[in-house]
């Protein structure tokens, strides 16, 4: 005979019908028009999901931060000072509302209080998009590499091409890593709005991911190709003269003093087209297939797509309005032109130092001068998009 033991009733919360769903009652603010974030103006007619999760999360004393920032640095600066770049957007020289006993909150009457708040990342990046995008990239890279491994694709590489990839494609990982961590991530504390800082953080993700993609690809090649020296990229990066120009200018970018605007401009507007794309698009992507390598371009191409389709897009959207700014266009153009004069020669020198790379593979790429011309044309096009003149330094 079996018996069932009575168990004591478990203590669990009881569901209760509350009818607390939208539309259940009519009262002030119950209608559809009350169901949107109403404290900012959308860039376009309809506010986007990206705007909803990004705009105004980083507060501004010129908007609603009526009690002001409550922590300060030792030098007295607080919050996200607009002076952390020399660039200016309209309204920034207007005084902050003066608040004190009996002043009231003095909230902004016309949103936004200044031009920095008009920036929107055209990629509309937030957590959902950045994970989807980057997860897709790493999945595709994994599949490409796995497929190549199974197909013994690396067996087709000539010894010279193996040396090229282990040293030079390997050396490039260091540049991506430095830019990712010490330019883009480092500046995500400095921008004037949440839109700027999130765009920098997402740009940083791309760079750090691409650096790791290259490092892990290098690890796979070490396992797959007999004689592939997984440490050769360190020797190239530390000792090879052809890499010291690029390294020097790359290390100069995190050394920019206290100006997030110059850091991003110098990196994405100047260094990337003149050095980054020169190496990635105009050398590696051109020469790999001729040397029997169809895998490396897919990895480098993913990084190239990051820059071309995403990182450059937000950069142009960030800087182009500043050259047309209703109050500070001339100031900003003069400043950017100064940056061009400073950075273009350094980047061209780095590019020319890399010239020997164009003759290292068995099957040769286009001539270095042709590659550099393409990079220069691309760079001039970006400047045109920004409303800037091509600097005379480009003809060097």
């Amino acid at each position: 005979m079996t018996s069932t033991e009575e168990r004591p009733e478990r203590s669990v919360p009881k569901p209760v019908f509350t009818d607390a769903e939208a539309g259940a009652k009519e009262f002030p603010d119950s209608g559809p028009s009350a169901r949107h974030y109403n404290y900012f103006k959308a860039a376009k007619r309809k506010q986007t999901h990206y705007e909803d999760v990004t705009v105004e999360v980083q507060p501004d004393p010129r908007h609603y931060l009526t009690q002001g920032w409550i922590y300060g640095f030792a030098d007295g600066s607080r919050g996200y000072p607009l002076t952390w770049t020399k660039l200016k957007a309209w309204g920034v020289d207007d005084p902050e509302p003066e608040r004190g006993p009996g002043s009231g909150g003095k909230p902004v009457e016309n949103w936004p209080a200044h031009g920095w708040h008009e920036f929107r990342d055209p990629n509309e990046e937030w957590e959902l998009t950045m994970y989807r995008y980057n997860a897709n990239v790493v999945r595709q890279i994994n599949q490409n590499v796995e497929n190549a491994r199974n197909a013994k694709a690396f067996d087709q590489w000539s010894p010279n091409w193996v040396r090229f990839v282990e040293r030079n494609v390997g050396a490039w990982m260091h540049i991506e890593h430095i830019l990712g961590l010490y330019v883009f991530a480092a500046n995500n504390r400095s921008g004037p709005t949440n839109m700027h800082n999130t765009a920098m953080a997402v740009n940083s993700e791309h760079k750090i991911r691409f650096a790791q993609d290259l490092a892990l690809y290098n690890l796979t090649l070490t396992e797959e190709i007999e004689g592939f020296d997984g440490a050769a990229h360190l020797d190239a990066w530390n000792n090879d003269p052809v890499w010291q120009g690029a390294r020097k200018v790359c290390e100069a970018l995190p050394a920019i003093r206290d100006d997030w605007g110059e850091s991003i401009f110098a990196t994405n507007v100047v260094f990337e087209p003149l050095v980054g794309e020169l190496f990635r698009s105009n050398l590696v992507m051109q020469v790999a297939a001729r040397n029997g390598d169809y895998v490396t371009p897919t990895i480098v191409g993913a990084g190239e797509y990051d820059f071309d389709q995403r990182d450059l897009r937000w950069t142009v959207a960030c800087f182009a309005p500043l050259t047309q700014d209703r109050e500070f266009a001339d100031h900003n153009k003069e400043l950017m032109n100064g940056w061009l004069q400073h950075w273009v020669p350094q980047c061209l020198e780095a590019a020319r130092t890399m010239q020997p790379l164009w003759s290292q593979a068995d099957a040769k790429p286009p001539r270095f001068e042709d590659s550099l011309d393409k990079a220069k044309n691309r760079f001039a096009g970006i400047l045109a998009d920004l409303g800037l003149e091509t600097p005379k330094e480009l003809s060097q």
């Binding site: 640095f73 953080a201 991911r209 360190l234 206290d258």
Partner: protein, 555 residues
Amino acid sequence: MSRQSLAKAHQKIQELSWEPVYHEPYMKYGTDYTFRKAAKKDPLKQVLRSYFPMQEEKDNRVYGASDGAIRGNMFRQVQERWLEWQKLFLSIIPLPEISAARSMPMLFQAVPNPELHNGQAIQMIDEVRHSTIQQNLKRLYMNNYIDPAGFNNTLRDFHSDYCGTIGRQFAEGFITGDAITAASIYLTIVAETAFTNTLFVAMPAEAAANGDYLLPTVFHSVQSDESRHISNGYATLLMALSDEDNRQLLERDLRYAWWNNHRVVDAAIGTFIEYGTKDRRKDRESYAEMWRRWIYDDYYRSYLLPLEKYGLVIPHDLIEESWNQIWNKGYVHEVAQFFATGWLANYWRIDGMTDEDFEWFEYKYPGWYEKYGKWWENYNRLAKPNGHHPIVAEDVDYVYPHRCWTCMVPCLVREDMVVDQVDGQWRTYCHEACRWTDAEAFRPTYQGRETPNMGKLVGHREWETLYHGWNWADVVQDMGMVRDDGKTMTAQPHLDLDPKKMWTLDHLRRMPNVASPNVILNEMSDSEREAFVEDYNKQGPAGRPAGIGGEALKS
């Protein structure tokens, strides 16, 4: 992840570590800490090739649950009492999260260990996730919950509300001042390691008990990232401990960070869990019980105490005092009462307590009714407009409190209030530990030692100052906490959405003007101020005026 093992992959990416040759990176954020010895390994051992798909999968689960909640009409079962408090919580929390992202580069520069930077970069990405996923959750509430007011104006409200600024410490404290004090000790060692337990684990459990299973879905997903951040903090702490010169600073910062987190987080989360719930099962844990388990046992006894052997000076006295505040001095109850006293300066509706609530409180906190019961009965009596003022302007034996200059929570445990003249201004503090924070810790010298990188407490730290002498109706209008008919207030001291039962600006016009306690304090003569302090210290509990028998109710 491809066939490479995670350990091998992680080892490989260490080859990326950068040792500058031609230019040193610009050090924008300073610290008084030194890191000359004992570099630690990256504790995360995370590579982005596996990280991104893992996070995407977590996202898929969260957004799948969100769709399910809407299709399943979750809001038919959500307790309004609970969701109203989420208007406060979800207005606060995206800023601390994004501030944590912004704080990570401060550590790149302050901690000269490239291996740790990988973990810090991943934390930066996590924090962007947290901030935007929480803004998105709030958006979903706004679209689907019966009353969108307070969600729809969320960030304007939070930035100007009379208790929003309290929560802002839990953001600005991460990103300003000495880089290690802010981004490591305050953020990762104390806020994330200790207090996210109550924030992201205990509170979501209470949400589920109130019919809201989306908050747990989102916040448990968030909490699954926090363990990584805790590892980051631990590695940095061990590095700091290996340098003798840091010990004095660590002792200072742990005292500040512990006490400030206790004051801010326990005030907010304690109130949400105890006063925002309808779940009054006697065997469900009270906030005090949760605190004892999650913070006292799991953090203090299991995490902090073992660090003593490495030379960490632990603020045992402040930890015991925090428990004393919660258990014996009614800290959470005093805060909830303050929030409800000023309901009209908020942007959510605060439900009154019922007999069932009274019974639960008395069971969990013996003696509660004698201290707080009468006031909550008055709150209910005055909840709907009927020719009287809101409770703050009625005689209910409640003395409006002074703000603490440091933590900005008012000085609610009246006997602990102290005053000091700092930077030429008389200031009130809720406790000696908060006076010490302002007058001694956040200074360019500490115990005779130069601390040139230490931050400062700045800003208009008393909300009432801005509105000193203002009519209440004008205050509420200035803050923008008015519904779309132009007169009905966003905040209400009850949950009845019948427009005839809701307070409007017109009801506030007849009230006496707002008076700033700090402005008044600074107008007092020395003798008046001494008398004020003596009287204030005799007040309470539950804000009772001195001399009406409250003394007997104090523990």
